[in-house]
Symmetry: C2
Subunit: 211 residues, 2 copies
DNA sequence: GCGTGTGAAATGCTTCACAGCG
DNA sequence: CGCTGTGAAGCATTTCACACGC
């Protein structure tokens, strides 16, 4: 089953919106309903759900519960994936905090840092280990996905070690492009890029407003 | 001048790579050169630079200095844009720290929080103000781009206030879709979505490996 | 009638491939 | 000859529009 990355992103959004709708007491949603909540179009929503393999078969809208089940099946095989954060600076702590509050789809089960002052402490419910224990713990807990929040200069060699011990997915917050072998998926999250984009497009929208 | 978002993102990358190359003593780069550093193709790089309006006219490669000048012109009109961070929790602090170290393209000139304990303090070189002063300071300093790092429940009404006082670009780190009038650009940066994507595609790549 | 499911058209982005220039 | 600049082809994604079922 092949899926465009954009569709996957939208499906993550739908999940959050569906949970909200469910809390509001709704049991089903129409495609245009979800479209409005997500800022897209109804056709887009229907196409996404079709790719998901989710069809309701009738005009009564999509049953929320069934959608959520199917999304969980595709996105995280029902049980949230175990993850780790590496590098407990400001950003690493923000990540730990963020994922300790968010739902159960993502469970951060270990944190690593090379600063001995941090090792052994528990932050946001997550134990911090020394990097020298990394290989052992990643293997023991079968952690396949990690977040890299270390300085740019250390990210590549860290990534090499991770790949070496079986990690297959990396969310890289360091501002360098990582080289990894095929079969390992890297998502590069660069806040500088994100903000330069905002700066550019906001200026653009602004200057077009003379039209 | 209209530009695909993807091209803008790549251009931000190119800038960083070009600066690195310059530090290494290079004065020019070939398209395949930049392609390799950025993980793309040479044709892609040439097309991007073409869209940028950057042509070197000959086979000697692109002069780095000129490229950087042109990129700065397009991305941040030479002088880095003044920005603000709102919400000084874990994530807000991480953002302040990140942008205090990064180059001068992005200058974070103010931080806001509603916790009186934080107001008046200086974090990573940036003064923290109370939210009640927000309108005044954003106007005084002509800040057009801000980062929202407050809880989801407060993000929308905060966005309304921001738009009201002239903000045209928002980087939204809260997990809600913001409604803004046309002419305001919002970039939604959702770490949960990013990580679910990694989880999904790493699993996918993994299961395809049997082929 | 109303909303879904889905071919088919439209749009947007990337890659190809080659002319042109130093 | 090697590399750029760019039309044109090739893909991917989004939107349209309409048949179908309740």
């Amino acid at each position: 089953m092949t899926m465009p990355a954009n569709t996957i992103e939208r499906i993550c959004q739908y999940r959050r919106l569906l949970r909200e709708a469910e809390k509001q007491g709704r049991h089903s949603v129409y495609s245009y309903d979800l479209a409005e909540r997500s800022g897209g179009t109804a056709a887009q929503v229907r196409r996404d759900l079709m790719l998901l393999g989710c069809t309701c078969g009738c005009k009564a809208g999509y049953p929320i519960e069934r959608l959520l089940l199917r999304i969980a099946e595709v996105l995280d095989k029902h049980t949230g994936e175990a993850m780790a954060v590496i590098g407990i600076g400001n950003l690493g702590r923000a990540l730990l905090s963020h994922f300790s509050m968010t739902g159960p789809n993502i469970r951060v089960v270990a944190a690593f840092d090379c600063d001995p002052a941090k090792v052994g402490r528990v932050l946001h419910g997550c134990r911090c280990y020394g990097v020298e224990e990394m290989e052992r713990i990643l293997r023991e807990q079968a952690i396949k996905v990690v977040m890299i929040a270390v300085p740019a200069s250390e990210a590549q060699q860290l990534a090499d070690r991770l790949v070496e011990c079986g990690v297959r997915g990396i969310a890289n917050f360091a501002p360098v492009l990582l080289r990894v072998p095929p079969g390992v998926y890297v998502e590069h999250i660069d806040m500088t890029v994100a903000l330069e984009k905002v700066s550019f497009f906001s200026r653009l929208a602004n200057s077009e407003e003379k039209a």
